[in-house]
Every structure is written in structure tokens, then in C-alpha cells.
């Protein structure tokens, strides 16, 4: 079945190996979040847990369109994109458990961490701000004439913020090589998109900035990949900003504690039938690009890697309390320990 004819029919220049890898990251994302649910229920996750169930497809597919040297900024539901960039599952596990060994040494939560060498810049919770920051990163690529691209994820909720508007507009005017992936997943916490904006297609916002935009089926891995690849190419070739609206659905609540009372169950069920991983599997197996045994082997690989990752970090310590004072500034490097905490008075 590995004839030239079938290989050539894979869309968007993807190879069979790409398809296997994409599946691996889809499965890794979903399974890692399931492990986190277990740890959350055991009380080992400190604070909230944020799922991307139903959005793994667009997250993995969009990041797959980036190349070495590109930098993207993820949102809370883009763990899949971070894994594609090279973030390791054990890092996310450590983050959620606030371990001293986590990438932020326990200072920040969940997927709020970065590795610029691998190409991801952790978000802050003030939605929209990363658009402005990524505009500056993309601008630096242009200034240095580096063939690199920035990509920033924003949600339907974030597209209401002032910094989204300022950031996209600034990047557009300066023709910075920036791709804006606007995840339209139906809800910002409990607020439906209809209460967020009076437009039904978020892609129309791009018109106001004079940048191209398209709307894609966010649960179709191939469609998201192709759209992002096109936008990344335009950015890399000097054509500036593009916006991609990926239409998807947040099947879990804002966080694990959220009972989703505001999401009609029929709506959730309808989107379950359009699950991005199920659709991807159906597509690649029915066309003979990847066979089921290969997928099962990848499932096994994910299970083993996650078993090892949990075992590796589960018993790691929390950070030493007084480590909280260091690295506020480069100089002076730390905050002063206050007198009432000093044993010498």
C-alpha cells in the first residue's frame, strides 16, 4: 500500500511519516490531559486544570505548519501545539503540580512556560497581551531580515480585548511576519460568542486591519494545517500578517471545576461526533495512508512515555519557600527578606 500513487495523494505535501507523527501528538495531548485529570482527582494538581478536549486537532495542526526558528505563543488550550514544538510532557506535569523541577520552578502554573530555543513563549493570563508581544517578536525577525515567523493563538474572548486590536493593527501596519490563529471555540468561560461579539464570523475582524483571513473547520486537521501553512508562507515571504479563524468547540468547561451548565448537552454531543482525532483517524486509515497497527503502536508509545513521565516527577519536591525571593530583577537579583522572617531579627 505504500505505492507512490497513495503517497502522492496525501494533501498539503505531508508525508506518511508526518501523518504518524501528527497522530502521535494528537494522542499525546489527549492522553496527557487524561493523566492530569487523574492527578487532579488525587489532589496532586495544585489549582485548576484546563482541558483542550475537542481542540487538539487545530492546536497540533497549526503548530505543525511552523519551522525551526519560528516562535509561537500558546493559550491554555494549546498544550498540543507546545508538544509539537518540543515541550516535554513531564514539564507540563511538573508545572501543574508546582514542582521545584518545573520549567518555572513553581512560579507559574500549567502551560504558562516557555522555551524560546524550541520556539514557544508562554502566555500570561491577560488575554490579548501576547498579540502585542508577538508583534514585537515578529518585528524583530523583520528588522534582522531573518526568515522567521511568529504565530499567536487567541480565542474568541480575547478578540474582544484592546490589546488584540492594538497588537494586530500594529503588526499589520509594520508588516510584521505574524500569523494570528483565532480559535473560535464557542465559549470564553461561560460567555458564548454571541455575547462576546455581534459578528458571527470572527475572520471579518481582519478586514479592519487590512490583512487576509480565512475561516476553517478547526476539527479538520488537514484544513487547519493547510490554512496555517499558507499564512506562515505569506509571513515568511514578507507579506505580513494573516488571520485564521479556526472553528472548533470546547467540549469541557473552562476548567475542571466548571460544571458547564451553560453548554447544552445536545451541543456537546453534536461536537463529539465531530471529534478531531476520530475524524483524523478515519481519514488516514480509510485512505490507506496509515494503518491501524501503526496507530496502535503509537498509542502504546504514548502510554509508555506518559507512565515514565508521571513516575519521573510525581515525587519531586515543591520549591524551597525562600526561593520565592530571587530573580525579581537582574540587578539587584532578589527581593529583600523582610525582618520578621529573619531569625537574627
Amino acid at each position: 500500500m505504500t505505492t507512490a500513487a497513495t503517497a502522492a495523494s496525501i494533501p498539503a505535501g505531508l508525508t506518511r511519516n508526518d501523518l504518524r507523527e501528527i497522530y502521535y501528538y494528537l494522542r499525546l495531548t489527549r492522553s496527557l490531559e487524561e493523566r492530569l485529570v487523574n492527578l487532579y482527582r488525587q489532589g496532586k494538581v495544585i489549582g485548576g486544570l484546563y482541558r483542550s478536549l475537542g481542540q487538539e486537532g487545530e492546536s497540533v495542526a497549526s503548530a505543525w505548519a511552523l519551522e525551526d526558528g519560528d516562535i509561537m505563543s500558546p493559550l491554555i488550550r494549546n498544550m498540543g501545539a507546545m508538544l509539537v514544538m518540543g515541550a516535554r510532557p513531564v514539564e507540563t506535569l511538573r508545572q501543574y503540580m508546582a514542582k521545584a523541577t518545573s520549567p518555572t520552578a513553581g512560579r507559574e502554573m500549567n502551560v504558562h512556560f516557555n522555551d524560546l530555543r524550541l520556539g514557544y513563549l508562554g502566555q500570561i493570563s491577560h488575554l490579548g497581551d501576547m498579540v502585542a508581544v508577538m508583534a514585537g517578536i515578529a518585528l524583530s525577525f523583520k528588522m534582522r531580515r531573518e526568515p522567521r515567523v511568529g504565530l499567536v493563538y487567541v480565542g474568541d474572548g480575547a478578540s474582544s480585548t484592546g490589546t488584540f486590536h492594538e497588537g494586530v493593527n500594529l503588526a499589520a501596519v509594520l508588516r510584521a511576519p505574524l500569523v494570528v490563529v483565532l480559535e473560535h471555540n464557542g465559549y470564553a468561560y461561560s460567555t458564548p460568542t454571541s455575547a462576546q461579539t455581534a459578528v458571527s464570523r470572527l475572520a471579518v475582524k481582519a478586514k479592519a486591519y487590512g490583512v487576509p483571513a480565512e475561516t476553517v473547520d478547526g476539527n479538520d486537521v488537514f484544513a487547519v494545517y493547510e490554512a496555517t501553512r499558507g499564512a506562515v508562507r505569506r509571513a515568511r515571504e514578507g507579506d505580513g500578517v494573516s488571520l485564521i479563524e479556526v472553528v472548533t468547540y470546547r467540549r469541557k468547561g473552562h476548567a475542571e471545576h466548571d460544571d458547564q451548565r451553560y453548554q447544552p448537552s445536545a451541543e456537546i454531543e453534536r461536537w463529539e461526533r465531530s471529534d478531531p482525532i476520530d475524524r483524523y483517524v478515519a481519514s488516514v486509515t480509510s485512505k490507506g495512508w496509515v494503518d491501524k497497527a501503526e496507530l496502535a503502536a503509537l498509542d502504546q508509545r504514548v502510554t509508555e512515555e506518559l507512565d515514565a513521565a508521571v513516575a519521573e516527577c510525581e515525587n519531586d519536591p515543591l520549591p524551597a519557600p525562600d526561593s520565592a525571593l530571587s530573580d525579581v530583577l537582574a540587578d539587584p537579583p532578589g527581593a529583600v527578606r523582610l525582618w520578621f522572617r529573619r531569625r537574627d531579627g
Binding site: R107, N114, L116, I124, V133, G136, S140, L170, A330
Partner: protein
Amino acid sequence: MAEVTYLEALRQGLWEEMERDDRVFLLGEDIGLYGGAFKVTEGFLQRFGRERVIDTPIAEAAIVGAAAGAAHMGLRPVAEMQFIDFISCAYDILTNYVATARYRAGLATPIVVRGPSGGFVRGGPFHSQMPEAAFFHTPGLKLVCPATARDAKGLIKAAIRDDDPVIYFEHKYLYRRIKEDLPEGEDMVTPIGKARLAREGRDLTVVTWSAMVWKTLEAAEQLEQSDGVSLEVVDLRSLIPMDDAAIMGSVRKTNKVLIVHEDTRTGGVAGEITARINEQAFEWLDGPILRVTAHDTPLPYAPTLEDYVLPQTADIVNGARRLLAY
């Protein structure tokens, strides 16, 4: 030596840093062909080109956010707020993103945000602010406020070279009123976090900064003439980091402290300085720590109103006399 204004000194500092280091670039509103609202960047576009002198839309949050992103990538951006009053539009980015970046994410964010600050220019409520206290409270930022031409130059150079984010409050009242002979061809860098003894004295210490240094020096001259008393004037230059040692050294010498600032009173920086003196030098005090500050109002436009609200030389004289009576 050449006589240069405060504004020209600032301009020279920016220019020299851009000549020295091609990672340094400017972004802001109307800074290119127009040269900025106060002409601080006049001629920069012609010399350094559009890629290093970037005119932006009216978008302070995006200006500072983009500066932060570029700084993460190794550049050294200097963002201009057309008037420092508009820095409030970037408050979120500065306090939540920039100030926390090193702490939460290990990210260096060597940006400078600078802008024309302060009153005495009939600028009304939105072109006269000295919003130092709004940022003084946030760990992770440095704040500098030069009073002299030498420090206008020295602190902009230090700020650009600093690995931390620095807000540089330049006083627009001083732009063309202050002139000073500065040596040419000298790499003049004022260390951030070090106060300057603006006047030596015996009887009372005034801790102050920015334009109020000059009002205080006038008051000190008057008091010397009229009352025969000697004021010591400490020009802080940097609010964060603050030179506690310089403050305490002077307190131990004069035993009386007046704090003078242009910003409003409640929640102003004087309150913090007072607390530090309480904690570090209480037993050296021979009187209460007093403050001369703006009144707690927005800054009004009419000359009679602005002059009433802002601290004046006579107010400093009055405050010093009250304290000297202890």
C-alpha cells in the same frame, strides 16, 4: 565642554547609544519624520533609518508589548510615550507582562519606556502627570527620574544598557530650562540606584528628585539667606532601586527630613521613604518626617489652579521652617 540643555543631553544619550549598539531602536508615535512632540528624536530617522526609528499607531499597550517581544529576541528597544500620561494605557502590559517576565519565565526584557513627564507647563490633567507611584508599587521595574542635564544623558544611557525594564521619567519643564556644561566625547553613564548629593548642608535633609530638585535648591538658597540655616538636598535620581544608604547617611547627619515630590500625596513615594527611615534610622530623628507634595487632585489647567495644586518653592521653605522649629 559644551553647554547643553536637559533635552539635548537626553537626545545625545539616545544618539550615542544608537551609534554604539545596533540592537538599540526607537518606537513611538510621531517620532520619525516629525521628531517627536518635543523633538527629542529630531534627526534620528535621517541618521538611523526607518527600521530603527519606528513610527507606530496610537497604541501604547502594543508599543510596550512589541518592545518587550523584541527585547526577548535580544534587541534593546526604547519606547516613547508621547506624554508620560499615556503610559496608563500600557499599565497592564508593563505591570503584568514586562515586570513579571524575569521572575515567572526567566525572560530578559531590557526595554526603556520614556516620556515627557510632570507639570508646571499648563498642560492640564492629561499632559502634566508624574505617574511614578503607579509603577513604584510593582516589583520587576526600575524607575529613574533625572533632574540634571548630566543625569538626563547618563541615566538614558544606563537605562538602555540595563538588563531590566526601566521607566525613564524625563521632566518636560526642565527640557529647555536646564543647561549644563557637559564634556564632549565622554561616555557619561549615571549608575541606576545611586543618589546624588545636590547640596551639602547641616540642619535638615530634603529628599527629592526630578524638577523638585531645582525648587528645593531655590528654597535652600532662600533659607540660607533669610534664616541662616543649611539644607542638604539629596537627589534620588532612581526611585527603584532606591539608594537607602544615601538617605540614611544624610538623616544621620542632619536628623531632620523633609520629602518633596511633585506627584500627589496619598500613596506617593514619600510615604515609602518615610517608612524606610522609620525602619532604618528612627533613633536618629529629631522631628517628624514631613512631606511637601502636590495636593490630592487631578492636575488642573489654569495657571492659578496648577500653581496652587503643585508644590512650590515657598511651600518647601514653609515646610523646612516648620521642621526646623522642632
